[in-house]
Every structure is written in structure tokens, then in C-alpha cells.
Symmetry: C2
Subunit: 341 residues, 2 copies
DNA sequence: CTGTTAGCGCCTTCAT
DNA sequence: ATGAAGGCGCTAACAG
């Protein structure tokens, strides 16, 4: 019954037991830190473990205890600081809860749903970011088999959601720009790309209504540099009449600003530009980018936490939890620059 | 023998077999895509699978096939674009190879070695970044139990290493700065923090020797904004005599530049500043940051690939593989600014 | 083409 | 405090 120590594949609980002259039950006990093992037996076992460089097989344990002790996390991609922060928060909280995290990126997968199924095969639950890159049907598909929590998305029956506040801060941001006297605001971003962008646009509209103005239709734009440059080109070419661009994230805003400058336009004098996320570059550029900071790391941590709660108990929170967000005023909106830069 | 469909925990291969009126072997076959199953049986099985929302248990499969089909990745943290890129490269290649990736961050763990052992418990091999945050003994600890490849580090007996080129490009970068007439260069970064920084400093020294100059001792500095600001303060206060700062990464360089500007110094006129990594901000700031670009994503992909090779065969590459790197000249070194900004 | 039957390595009652 | 034995869900011969 004993394994073959030293072989590829390594020692098993049997070889350890044999080497220590005890039964596998005892080995299991000391490994679990049970207190009902005599000190000397424990010692013998530990010695055997070291000598054999024994390393338990996670799969066997999982099979026996009937759970994986792992959280799945499904993200669209990983560019920019947003996802990284989220991931750090998630991993760190998961680790505290004794869970490992198996990560999966939608980017580059031709069949995300398939991949997600296979992910679900090896974790106790999965957290996923609501995004166009991730099929909307996914949560429903997994729901019933595994607990699911969606991040920056919306709750559905039996799938919990957490997000950071979008509408109100978008409204505040937009109102702020309006207060600078701008009247031809354009929202750059695609409300269809996910609930968060959609809500930001909703706030944009709400602020206009508050001011008895009517908001322009959104300008669907990808959240990347190239799209920003293209957008700026349209402005430079004169085929976009606007005096303030409300961009759905900072990368877009920064790319726009850069190209605008190259084209000889001044921000904010000719055109105000604001963004979302407060990435590092936002405070390094000149003028500083006015934006909204969200507690991304906390969002990740909360996701891990809620997921764990749903796994260990049937405990579900019905309303989607919303984390507060913060307006960061710099000078790209028209505010006076901070003398400290 | 049949499971209890509908219960928490879900259907098993037994319940599916029963529902489809076949044996578990047949179910297994259709799930593996075996071609020796009649079309109609296959259909019956698939139907049962759908109706029962069957989802195989990864752990059981792993136990049976005797491998996890998962790669472990151990990173110090995730801030900045470097790790994200690396991770994206790793995940995407791993996915192509049919491996999931379980990610683990050293940051925040009080006992990284312990955590790493537990990681090793559920993967077929682990890739880790060489860094001060990750115990140097780790590769050795795991070696023998699981294949290990270290990224940005050095090969040891039985642990493979891959890295991107450091010394030569650091040498080229330094030579370039010297060619601008600077003579009091200072290297900001801690050679003890990891093999990559150490090699960059080595290149710094080599360039000086080539010019029959003698290089100043390194100025151990953390690679973060706060440290950069502090460094700049020392310059502003006049207790650091230098006309060119060679920073070990871009974040540091950017923070230095920013604070220097706030303090009224001009870059590059008063002081040249160069960095490493070519982060996004590097091309957005004014002046543009001269830096070195490394193929980080490819590095991640290569790590996944080598790891997989070592897992599936005994195939080991002895010499550490080195990926080429590229000097990116902008104007923070003293070069004339690109009119296109 | 399909079913039977051993394990895979570990945990966990149940005895002792 | 320790051992014996069954079972977790799946794969893979081996028979038919």
C-alpha cells in the first residue's frame, strides 16, 4: 500500500505512516494539528514528513472534505490599475480566509463560457466582473451549481452583486463641469459595455436634468488609448462640437488630453476633460486630471468575503452592496491648478 | 451508489449515468470526447448532463489522473504594470496549454514559505518571481517536489530561470547618459532587492568603466513614489551631488521628476532622469521619460511554457533564458524632445 | 461500443 | 491515544 518515496510524484500519507511506524490516521491527525496525538508520535511523524519531503495532495484532500478551498475569479483582462487593485484585494482577503484563488482572464479565450465552466470545476465559488467581455448568461449558468458574486454588476435571483457607487458621483462630476459654465458636454464611453458605465452615463444625464438641460447621446468609445486618440482627432477635425468631455475612465481621458495638446488645443481652456478611476498618471500629467476615485481594492476584498460567506453558509445578501466613491478635483475640469502640482 | 441530484453539491457522474441509463464509464467517455461512443448514447448522456446541470468535480479527476492541470504563480505583489503584464502573459499561455493558474501574492503574508507550500499542494509546478519579498530558499524547498521556474532570477541546480536582459541595456542606457556629458551619475535602487536590479547596477558600473570613469555606490531606494519624492528632496536640499539619476524603475523616476519640478528644478537641464520598464506614464509626462522596455508579457508566457515543459517531460533547459530588451529614448535624458510629444 | 472494477490519496467515523 | 476501514467522484484498464 505504501507509495514509492523519492519517485516522481513524491511521498504519500502511506509512505509517511510507514516511515513513522504509525497508521495513516495518525499522520492525518498531526497534519491537521489535532491535539489528541502524543508528543513523541507527533515528533516521529514530523520527522518522517521532513525526510520524505512529504507534500499532501490537494486534490485528494479536496475530494475527501468535499470542497476545494479555492475561489475562482474571472476578469476580462488585466490592463491598467483597476483590475490589479481588484485582484490584490481579492487575493489578500481570500488568503486570510484560507482560500487560494484561481484566476482566469476572458481576454484571448474564444469560448469564455466553456472556460468558466472548467474553472467552476475546481473552485467552491466564482466571482466575476460584469463586463461585455464576460457573457451575461454566465452567472445564471453557474448559479445553482456554485455560488456566484458579480462585481460592478447587478444582483439577480441567487447571484449576489457588489459595486462601487457610480450614478451619484457621475452626477456630481457632471454637475461640477456644468458649474464651470460648460454646456456642450459629451460622454465618451459605451453604456452597453457594462452596468458601471451605463450608470455613469445615467448620472451624466441626471445632472443635466437637474440643470434643466438635455444631455447629448453617449459617444460609444472603447476605454483605451487608441480610441482616445481617435476621439481627439475628431475634435481637432471639428466634427465633434463640445466644450467638455466626460470620459468613462482615465486611460481614455488621458489619451484624449495628450492628443488634444499635440493638436494645439488647450485643456481645460478650449476643452475640459474628466475621467474615472484616478490612475497614477492622472496626478502626474499637466493639467492634473479631474476624476473619480473608487475603492477598488476594498471591492475586491468584499467580493472574496461575500463569496466565502455564500460558500460556507447559505447566507445571501439580497440588495447589491454599494461602496462609496470620491470626487477628485484637479485642473483638467477648469479648476485652478494646485500650486503643489 | 447514485448521488442526490438537486442537492447542494450537485450531480455526480453516477447520477448522470443513472439518468442516462448507462454506466459511469460511458459518461466519462463522452465527457472526455472519446469517439468510441455511439451518437445516440452520447446524446442521451448529454441530455442527462444538461438536465442535472452536472459539473464534474475537478479534484476527483485530478486524483484519478494524478495531476492538477494547474500552474502556480507566486508574485510579490501586483502594483504597477509590470506584474500585470507578466500575469497576463502567464495566464494566457497557461490557458492555451490547458492549465489553470492559481495565483498567490507574497504581500501581506507573514509566512510566505508556508503559503507557498500550500500552493504547491494544488498545482503541478510553480513559477515565481525572484525578489526580496520571496524567500530565496523557496525554490530549493520546492525543488524535488515540484518543478519550479524562477522569473527574473537565476538558475540553480534543478530550478530553471528566465529573465529579460538587464546588464547590457543598463550599460547602454548609462553610456547614453554619459554621452550627454553627465559625469556625476547616481544609481537609485537596491541591488540587494533582486537579481534584476543587481544586474542593472552592474551595467551601470560597466558603462563607467568603459569610459574610464568610476561609478558611484548605489543609492538603495525602494521602487515607489514615496521613496522617489524623498530622494528628490535630498537633491533639492543639496545633500546629493548629481547631474543624472539612473532609477531602477519608472515609478521611482517619475516620482523624482515630479518632485524635482515642484522644487523648481528642470529635467533634464539641471538633472537628467532615466528609468526602467516604460510604463504608460513614461510617455505621458513632460519631458518624456527615457527608459528601457522589456518584453514582460512574453516573459510571463515563457514562464508558463517552460513550466509546462518541465511538468510534462523531464525536459530542462540549463542556461537561463534571456529575453532581449529595448532602449527607449525620450527627452528626460537630455535628448531633444520628439515634436509629436 | 459498453459495463465492471480497481484504484488515485486523504479524511473520518467507529472501535479499541 | 491509535488503528481499521469505508468512501469522496472520477479515470482507465480489462472484459465482453
Amino acid at each position: 500500500m505504501a507509495g514509492i518515496p523519492g519517485q516522481r510524484g513524491g511521498a504519500t500519507i502511506y509512505s509517511v505512516a510507514e516511515a513513522a511506524g504509525v497508521s495513516i490516521a495518525t499522520v492525518s491527525r498531526v497534519l491537521q494539528g489535532s491535539d489528541k496525538v502524543s508528543a513523541k508520535t507527533r515528533q516521529r511523524v514530523m520527522t518522517a514528513v521532513e525526510e520524505l519531503r512529504y507534500m499532501p495532495l490537494g486534490a485528494a484532500r479536496s475530494l475527501a472534505v468535499r470542497h476545494h478551498e479555492a475561489h475562482g475569479l474571472l476578469l476580462p483582462e488585466l490592463s491598467g490599475p483597476y483590475y490589479s487593485e481588484l485582484l490584490m484585494g481579492f487575493e489578500s482577503r481570500a488568503a486570510e480566509l484560507g482560500q487560494s484563488v484561481v484566476l482566469m482572464l476572458a481576454e484571448g479565450k474564444d469560448d469564455v463560457a466553456r472556460a468558466a465552466r472548467s474553472l467552476a470545476t475546481r473552485v467552491d465559488g466564482v466571482a466575476m466582473l460584469a463586463s461585455a467581455a464576460i457573457p451575461d448568461a454566465l452567472p445564471e449558468m453557474l448559479r445553482g451549481s456554485k455560488p456566484v458574486v458579480v462585481i460592478a454588476g447587478e444582483a439577480k435571483p441567487d447571484v449576489e452583486a457588489i459595486t462601487s457607487e457610480n450614478t451619484a458621483s457621475a452626477q456630481a462630476l457632471t454637475a461640477h463641469v456644468l458649474r464651470h459654465g460648460r454646456r456642450r458636454l459629451v460622454f465618451a464611453g459605451d453604456p452597453a459595455s457594462g452596468p458601471d458605465i451605463r450608470d455613469r452615463y445615467a448620472g451624466f444625464v441626471a445632472a443635466h436634468e437637474d440643470a434643466h438641460l438635455t444631455a447629448a447621446a453617449p459617444l460609444p468609445t472603447e476605454l483605451r488609448e487608441s480610441a482616445g486618440a481617435a476621439l481627439a482627432d475628431r475634435v481637432l477635425a471639428g466634427d465633434l462640437d463640445t466644450d467638455a468631455l466626460v470620459c468613462a475612465n482615465d486611460e481614455l481621458a488621458l489619451a484624449v488630453m495628450k492628443r488634444l495638446r499635440q493638436g494645439g488645443r488647450s485643456v481645460p481652456d478650449d476643452l475640459a476633460v474628466v475621467g474615472w478611476d484616478d490612475v497614477m498618471t492622472a496626478r502626474y500629467v499637466e493639467p492634473g486630471l479631474t476624476t473619480v476615485r473608487q475603492p477598488v481594492r476594498e471591492l475586491g476584498a468584499l467580493a472574496a468575503e461575500r463569496l466565502h460567506a455564500r460558500i460556507t453558509s447559505a447566507d445571501t445578501v439580497d440588495e447589491t452592496q454599494v461602496l462609496p466613491t470620491q470626487l477628485v478635483l484637479r485642473s483638467s475640469c477648469g479648476c485652478a491648478p494646485d500650486p503643489l502640482g
